[in-house]
């Protein structure tokens, strides 16, 4: 923690100063979102949001609460910038990820046009990185309203791991169907391997909550849905909600040591490519 004290004098000029005792979780979370080159970084009094948009059809947002940071200084109401996520991830992982070591991380941002300075320290070795930022793009708001939710299913991600990895990639879409009789969530693909249905009955021990107003089915493009795979493996629980427009929300909860949680949320618009004459 020597490095924190030395950098203190520069702080006054920085609009954002963040520090974490262990960069590993930060890295793990960011790594799951590297399916696109850029991410929008937004810091507000409640914490940090990292958003990745995929062709305006899929959006992933990682929420890092203020409490996760050992130092959280914000000198403006909100600070936003666009940053190449892959590059940031590489920087944060420069010390590698051995389980015993812990890497101290400190990030500072001087304002529009300034790079994000990343300082890492482990075992007395200090690495300083500077990542160029861009002006932030407007983030599309999917307007997912919890009041308009048709179904909500909370389940452990464990059951989904193997299934998502095995999904038939020759299928264009993955259908999410929530049925009432029998009460279950059904994931379906239709491709070269035939039709494959995976049923999760509501009374299964891995489903913690199963609520639905009505029976419904929506299809989503499989290539987009597969973006959640890495997050699925990192998280312990997921809440799957569908709203009246068919937009899917998958909220993943990643447990942290000391009872903290990081949430990563995915929104996906339904696939409307099938033309039914």
């Amino acid at each position: 923690m020597v490095l924190v004290r030395n950098e203190a004098e520069d702080d006054a000029t920085q609009v954002l100063v963040l520090a974490m005792d262990n960069a590993k979780e930060f890295y793990n979370v960011l790594k799951t979102l590297t399916f696109r080159e850029h991410a929008e970084f937004e810091a507000s009094p409640s914490g940090v949001k990292v958003t990745v948009d995929d062709m305006k059809c899929l959006q992933a947002i990682a929420y890092l609460k203020r409490d996760l940071f050992s130092v959280f200084v914000l000198r403006e109401e909100t600070v936003t910038f666009r940053i190449p996520l892959g590059v940031l991830c590489e920087c944060v992982n420069l010390f590698g990820s051995s389980p015993n070591s812990s890497t101290a991380l400190r990030m500072t941002y001087g304002g529009l046009g300034e790079p994000l300075k990343v300082i890492m320290e482990e075992g007395g070795v200090v690495i300083r990185c500077s990542v160029r930022t861009q002006q932030s793009d407007e983030i599309l708001d999917f307007e997912f309203d919890p009041e308009n939710v048709v179904s909500k299913i909370i389940m452990k991600t464990e059951a989904l791991w193997d299934q998502f990895v095995d999904l038939d990639t020759s299928s264009n879409t993955l259908a999410f169907a929530v049925d009432i009789k029998p009460s279950r969530l059904r994931l379906s693909t239709d491709g070269e391997l035939g039709t494959i249905d995976i049923d999760f009955p509501a009374d299964s021990e891995i489903i913690e909550k199963f609520e639905t107003k009505e029976k419904h089915q929506n299809k989503y493009r499989l290539s987009l849905i597969r973006r959640v795979n890495k997050t699925l493996h990192l998280a312990q629980k997921v809440s799957i909600r569908t709203d009246t427009r068919g937009i899917l929300s998958m909220q993943f909860m990643v447990e942290q040591p000391d009872n903290q949680h990081i949430f990563i949320e995915f929104f996906c618009v339904p696939d409307t490519d099938d033309y039914d004459p």
Binding site: A159, D162, Q163, D166, D168, E192, L193, G194, T195, I196, D197, I198, D199, F200, P201, D203, S204, E205, I206
Partner: protein, 459 residues
């Protein structure tokens, strides 16, 4: 779960036809999955035949030189119902009568993948196979009550292929607990495509076959001798070398090894099929039939004994003298071998008598042309074993094509030297007929000749 046939044309009966079976797998699921993995090494399509006697899975490779078959009796399954009593041995040309159906091997592998994973994750597996339907369904009950259902489309299935092989006719029989031969095979390089297996009175020799190698002097030659004691049963009376494709051979050994089952090998002389059987389990049997390289006329006796005189490719291979003593003699063997060979020469006229009849063991392109003219054969002095010029392992069988072609290009049916691709492809269409594994009904006896052969050289 089982889809009925086309509802518009059949009487309004829902439900499976009389040919359908419904069976449940539990503990044996991994055996089933491994069987499919072994068949996947043979062919790209999986043929299923459900009958009341059990479920048969088959695969054949493209060149029809390897065939794998598993028969799972009803006792292999936890539940087994349905199926008609189709005669398992008849080759049925009438698709309506047969219970044959076919799915792509890719589909089969994607459903029954990773046997170790299946063992842990899958509680039970329900199969519904109705040959008269468009799809078959596989329902897997996984952990936590999750159910995964596959509806696999059937491919159009032609008339059944039944290879005619009879294990009781094979002269040699060896029973191995599979670890022995498999661990021997693991010594061969990864690029080895074919191996030659030679039975002797008290041992088995396995070496890699080098015919298809373009540059033989650069290839590592491996030879392994397995003693009689390593086998459960060792009854070898025909001391010939047979050459077969490694991939399919290894597939069944790997399967047997995973279940610690013994494998029985039934083989004979070159050209006759090499059969591997799994006979020890009560609930299922497995048979793999692999075609072996047929011999050149009159040359059979030359194997492993003669250094072909004009072979200038000297190598530093050690002499095979050590293991070959018992084979040196008997004219009886020569006659056997040559008679076996002459039988296999009785083939469509398109093949010239000087040319060798080869089994296509792998991709047609990799099989080299062994064109040995009569003249050079006579000078080779059959039963004599020339010790002072030890042949490089597995090279005795032929002359390098280049040498041959230079001398006798006029006798070879107008093909460019040395191993011409067009010739090989030509053979690939017709050579299948030379195998004794073929049923007569496969040959087009009454095919109409639309254009007579205009090549004056053809007899």
């Amino acid at each position: 779960m089982v889809e009925a046939g086309d509802a518009e044309f059949s009487p309004a009966i829902e439900g499976p036809s009389s040919k359908a079976i419904r069976c449940v797998l539990q503990g044996n699921l991994k055996v089933f999955a491994r069987a499919i993995m072994a068949l996947a090494k043979v062919g790209d399509e999986l043929l299923l035949e459900p009958t009341m006697h059990g479920l048969t899975l088959r695969a054949v490779n493209l060149s029809k030189s390897a065939y794998g078959c598993y028969l799972f009796s009803p006792s292999f399954f936890v539940e087994y119902e349905g199926g008609c009593g189709a005669d398992m041995n008849a080759s049925t040309a009438d698709a309506d009568e047969s219970a044959l159906c076919k799915i792509s091997m890719k589909c089969a592998m994607s459903v029954f993948k990773a046997p170790q994973f299946m063992e842990k994750a899958v509680r039970s597996c329900l199969l519904n196979i109705d040959p008269s339907s468009d799809t078959m369904s596989v329902e897997m009950s996984l952990k936590y009550g999750v159910v995964k259902s596959y509806n696999i489309p059937f491919m159009t299935c032609g008339p059944g292929l039944r290879p005619m092989f009879d294990k009781s006719l094979a002269q040699n029989c060896i029973i191995d607990d599979s670890k022995c031969v498999l661990s021997a095979l693991n010594n061969f390089g990864a690029s080895t495509e074919e191996v030659t297996i030679g039975g002797a009175a008290s041992e088995l020799l396995i070496r890699n076959h080098l015919e298809s190698e373009p540059d033989r002097s650069r290839v590592v030659k491996t030879e392994i001798t397995l003693s009689k004691q390593d086998f459960e049963r060792f009854a070898v009376s025909v001391f010939d070398d047979v050459t077969l494709c490694l991939k399919e051979f290894k597939a069944i050994l790997v399967f047997a090894d995973s279940l610690s089952m013994p494998v029985s090998f039934y083989f004979d002389s070159p050209g006759k099929p090499f059969m591997c059987s799994l006979e020890s389990d009560m609930t299922f049997t497995g048979d793999f039939v692999i075609a072996t390289l047929a011999d050149l006329p009159g040359r059979a006796s030359v194997q492993r004994r003669v250094a072909v005189g004009s072979n200038s490719q000297a190598s530093s291979a050690t002499s095979l003298a050590g293991g070959c003593d018992p084979l040196n003699s008997s004219a009886v063997e020569n006659d056997r071998a040559s008679s076996a060979v002459t039988r296999s020469i009785a083939v469509p006229r398109v093949l010239r008598s000087e040319q060798s009849i080869e089994t296509l063991l792998s991709d047609p392109q990799t099989v080299s042309t062994k064109t040995v003219p009569e003249t050079l054969l006579h000078s080779a002095n059959p039963p004599v074993r020339v010790e002072n010029d030890p042949p490089p392992a597995a090279q005795v069988d032929s002359l390098p094509p280049t040498e041959v072609d230079d001398g006798i290009s006029d006798t070879v049916a107008g093909t460019p030297p040395p191993s011409p691709p067009p010739n090989k492809r030509f053979r690939s269409f017709f050579l299948g007929l030379s195998q004794q594994t073929f049923h007569a009904s496969q040959i087009y006896k009454d095919a109409e000749v639309l254009a007579p052969d205009s090549d004056p050289e053809e007899t």
